[in-house]
């Protein structure tokens, strides 16, 4: 039977639709899409859906093995590729794996390891403990003895929720007292954040020693038989590194100024992290710190990184979504040869917390020469919270230019133009 189905889980972004067309062209035969959406994810705010008609949407309860099997059975022999772009969907992917045994997929366990930070750290540590800082996983029940659990830690430390992505609730603590307060406050809100983000695991936080250095990421393709091909590193500036509160990714920069030798070392660390988790037949997004002690792994996910599709297309002409599909289908990805433009991704949170009254300057920002896109993700009237308090991103953008100086100017202009007006809540 002809394998002509690209199966996505929970979401379909425009980049995936475009990639299906590119893969269809490459293979010389028509392809179609099916997206399986978990029943509780259907109404997820802002869930990307296909508006072109290429993807048929099927709602299913991923927790019901019988229903999942019955749903997949009619087309299981026609599936060419299974993919997903969202971290939230990885758990559902692991539930689907046993029902698509004749399609290239990662193992069920490796997908779980890639989403649960404590398990991920355990795997990385067992493979090569130099890859990660000292860490301790803490659950609600451990709060009574948290001091004992981290008594040997050096401060500052970073507190991270166990299975949240981006920088939700990520907090830096410089002292033991700050850590105690942070753990208490994190566990006060973590249930609500897990519920809002459809997390189905028991909340846990990870406390790890703070790494001093520069943050980077790289996206890689792991073939079904373990060949790893790495895309160039992206430099990530955190809000804290540019003097703003929070640890969220403030800016992504591509290409970087890293030497070829340093890029090689970063890629070696990234490859080691893939091997530590035993990932296969997947794209992976790996975040790293470049420290004086070498490259350290912050975390990795079995998916394309956020903004990486746009960044790699602008800077290197790479069709990241196409490569994701091609690699999962057992074909070689098309790797970049040279830099064609300089690119930035910008994340904008509100400077102050409160009710959003207006988001200004978006149209002017869109008219800048370097702008690829500028998008607002919330409406006036919504609550603006800091990322450290579980708040969502408000505006994001990708810009690119052949001229790096012009790009810098436009980025500065965009930051000046986009204003998030917030009305503070008086208690």
């Amino acid at each position: 039977m002809k394998k002509d189905i690209v199966l996505s889980i929970d979401v379909v972004e425009p980049g995936l639709v475009n990639a299906v067309h590119l893969l269809s062209e490459e293979l010389g035969r028509p392809l179609r899409g099916i997206v399986l959406v978990h029943k509780s994810f259907v109404d997820y705010p802002g869930r990307p859906i296909d508006t072109t008609g290429l993807f048929e949407e099927i709602v299913v309860d991923f927790d019901d093995a019988d229903e999942l099997q019955k749903t997949v059975k009619p087309f299981m022999d026609q599936i060419l590729v299974v993919t997903t772009r969202y971290e939230d969907a990885i758990h559902h992917f692991s539930q689907l794996v046993p029902f698509v045994p004749y399609v290239n997929t990662p193992t069920e366990s490796s997908l779980i390891w890639s989403t649960e930070k404590p398990l991920m750290r355990d795997r990385l540590k067992a493979y090569d403990e130099r890859l990660i800082p000292r860490y301790q996983s803490i659950e609600q029940k451990d709060l009574v003895r948290w001091e004992e659990l981290v008594k040997d830690f050096s401060y500052p430390v970073i507190v991270k929720p166990g299975s949240l992505w981006s920088s939700f609730l990520v907090t830096r603590c410089d002292t033991k007292e700050e850590l105690g307060e942070c753990l208490a406050s994190t566990f006060r809100v973590i249930q609500e954040v897990y519920g809002r983000l459809r997390r189905e695991t028991e909340p846990a936080v990870l406390v790890e020693e703070f790494m001093i250095g520069d943050m980077y990421s790289t996206d890689v393709y792991v073939s079904e038989d373990g060949i790893i091909e790495c895309l160039p590193p992206v430099q990530v500036l955190t809000a804290e590194s540019v003097g703003k509160p929070g640890l969220y990714g403030y800016r992504c920069i591509l290409p970087t100024a890293l030497s070829e030798e340093e890029v090689g070392r970063a890629h070696d660390a990234a490859k080691a992290s893939i091997r530590a988790l035993n990932l296969r037949a997947t794209t992976a997004h790996i975040e790293l710190f470049h420290t004086k002690d070498g490259w350290k792994i912050i975390e990795l996910g079995a998916r394309i990184g956020g903004y990486r599709e746009g960044l790699y297309r602008e800077a290197y002409g790479v069709e990241h979504h196409y490569n994701d599909l091609a690699n999962r289908a057992g074909m070689r990805p098309k790797m970049p040869s040279k830099v064609i433009r300089h690119a930035r991704a910008e994340n904008i949170f509100a400077d102050e917390e409160g009710i959003i009254e207006a988001i200004e300057g978006l149209d002017e920002a869109r008219r800048l020469e370097s702008t690829i896109f500028v998008e607002s993700h919330v409406e006036p009237g919504a609550m603006a919270l800091s990322a450290g308090n579980g708040g969502d991103l408000i505006v994001d953008a990708i810009l690119s230019n052949i001229d790096p100086k012009k790009l810098e100017e436009d980025v500065a202009k965009l930051r000046g133009l986009v204003k998030i007006k917030v009305k503070k809540i008086v208690e």
């Binding site: 093995a65 019988d66 229903e67 099997q69 019955k70 059975k73 022999d77 794996v97 046993p98 029902f99 698509v100 045994p101 004749y102 399609v103 290239n104 990662p106 193992t107 069920e108 366990s109 490796s110 390891w113 355990d122 795997r123 540590k125 067992a126 493979y127 079904e224 038989d225 373990g226 530590a276 035993n278 990932l279 296969r280 057992g330």
Partner: protein, 453 residues
């Protein structure tokens, strides 16, 4: 697991390590040099053994010294990862043919992503009768009888069974093989007694027989019909190769005996080509229903008035199938399992060579084994291919209904089906299991027999 590239492993000269999990079986030992010869390069064998099993003396070690023994704690992912890392760059295949080791194999799977292997869940489903039925039922409802899992013998659970099923029913443990603790109930009173007895013996039997997963019991509607088995192979992309069907007869079909353990298995079955084709389609559906891949498979079926039904499926060879398929069809079952795991087609033999019958002997009473009489005499019988005892004098013995196991079995062959049956009867009459009253509670190893018909 490399799907489309599975065969690259066979062609890659750097891939030369074969890992067997926990137990060494002679047929797999014999298949190892044959595989090396077929690939045209020397191979290195490794027995990867769970420390707990090794410490308890429950694994079957390699007596030949060909395989390097590597012991690690399978419950520790870090230790398992570090151990496998020593071999991973040269790993050709990993095989696990023991029913009792399937959950250990499952723990190894995420650490061997670049060699073809089953999914983790499929092994769980292949060893848990309840989940297996659920999955097969969801895939193709007509292939399984109505089933009800029960957690204990309390009133609530009894009522669930009464509400869902029609008598007679079968009571079966979920993760045990060899028909251990399998009983039939014709009415509510018998059901209550059978569930009480089964739950009483459940945990001890799981421990003794190395049951898979959490001990549990299912009750299912009784299927009336003829019992068959079939072994086969499924490759990385779902192509299935099935060997010929075999006819099984359980003890309850033999006058004067009881129990649902298999009394004999015979190559002669009298099925029409059409019936064979339908039975094979049901077997293929069972393999796909639990999503098995890159594996050997053993399937037990009933041919009923309502069509073929699946009793169960395992990701392992059936008992003595190596010998049955070898003598009757010229097939090397163990070698084929190794071939399917590296993307090479199995060698399916050259058709029917001779009839054969597997003679299985179980204890009828509990006690201490004093002697298996007639072993040497049976081995000298011209129609006997092989005889294997599974217990030694001094071993504590239980009947199958109390969670016991087979004591001795042997394969008889002949080109004439009538002569075969006469020979089989003669051989069976030679093999006598002598049992004394129990004097000791110490049980010696009971698990040489790794698979079940």
């Amino acid at each position: 697991m490399a799907l489309s590239n599975a065969k690259q492993l066979a062609d890659d000269p750097t891939k030369n390590i074969v890992i067997y999990i926990n137990d060494y079986y002679p047929e797999y030992g014999a298949a190892f040099p044959k595989l090396a010869e077929k690939l045209g390069r020397p191979l290195k064998g490794v027995m990867l053994i769970d420390k707990k099993l090794k410490d308890a003396g429950q694994n079957l070690p390699d007596p030949t010294g060909v395989f390097e023994e590597v012991v690690c704690d399978f419950s520790n992912d870090g230790e398992l990862r570090a151990t496998i890392r020593r071999f991973e760059d040269n790993l050709l295949l990993v095989s696990c043919s023991g029913e009792g080791s399937q959950m250990d194999f499952q723990r190894v799977l995420p650490h061997i992503p670049y060699v073809p292997a089953p999914t983790e869940r499929s092994l769980e489903w292949a060893t848990h009768k309840g989940k297996m039925r659920e999955l097969i039922g969801a895939y193709s409802p007509q292939l399984v009888p109505k089933v009800q899992p029960v957690e204990n013998a309390n009133e609530g659970e009894i009522q669930k069974v009464l509400g869902a099923l029609t008598f007679p029913v079968m009571i079966k443990p979920t993760g045990l093989s060899d028909s251990a603790l399998v009983t039939k109930a014709h009415n509510e009173d018998e059901l209550r007694v059978a569930l009480d007895d089964a739950f009483d013996a459940l945990h001890d039997t799981y421990k003794r027989n190395r049951g898979n997963g959490k001990p549990g019991i299912i009750v299912e509607e009784f299927m009336d019909g003829d019992q068959f088995t079939i072994d086969g192979y499924v490759d990385a992309v779902g192509n299935i190769y099935l060997l010929p069907l075999l006819h099984s007869i359980s003890s309850n079909r033999i006058t004067g005996l009881g129990g649902f353990n298999i009394y004999q298995v015979e190559t002669h079955h009298g099925l029409t080509d059409e019936e064979i084709a339908v039975g094979k389609r049901a077997s293929e559906d069972a393999i796909h229903a639990i999503g098995l891949r890159s594996s050997i498979a053993h399937i037990e079926l009933f041919k009923t008035a309502d069509g073929w039904k699946i009793i169960e499926i395992g990701a392992r060879p059936g008992a003595y199938r190596q010998e049955i398929y070898e003598v009757s069809y010229g097939v090397d079952h163990a070698l084929n399992e190794l071939l399917i795991k590296i993307g090479l087609p199995p060698e399916m033999g050259k058709g029917h060579l001779t009839h054969s019958q597997l003679v299985k002997v179980y204890p009828q009473t509990a006690g201490i084994l004093s002697e298996i009489e007639g072993l040497d005499k049976a081995r000298l019988h011209p129609a006997v291919y092989k005889v294997t005892p599974y217990a030694e004098p001094g071993d504590k013995i239980l009947p199958i209904a109390q969670g016991g196991s087979i004591v001795v079995e042997g394969l008889v062959f002949n080109k004439s089906i009538d002569q075969l049956r006469r020979d089989a009867t003669e051989v069976r009459s030679m093999l006598k299991v002598r049992i004394e009253e129990p004097k000791s509670t110490v049980s010696k190893k009971e698990r040489q027999q790794h698979t079940v018909a």
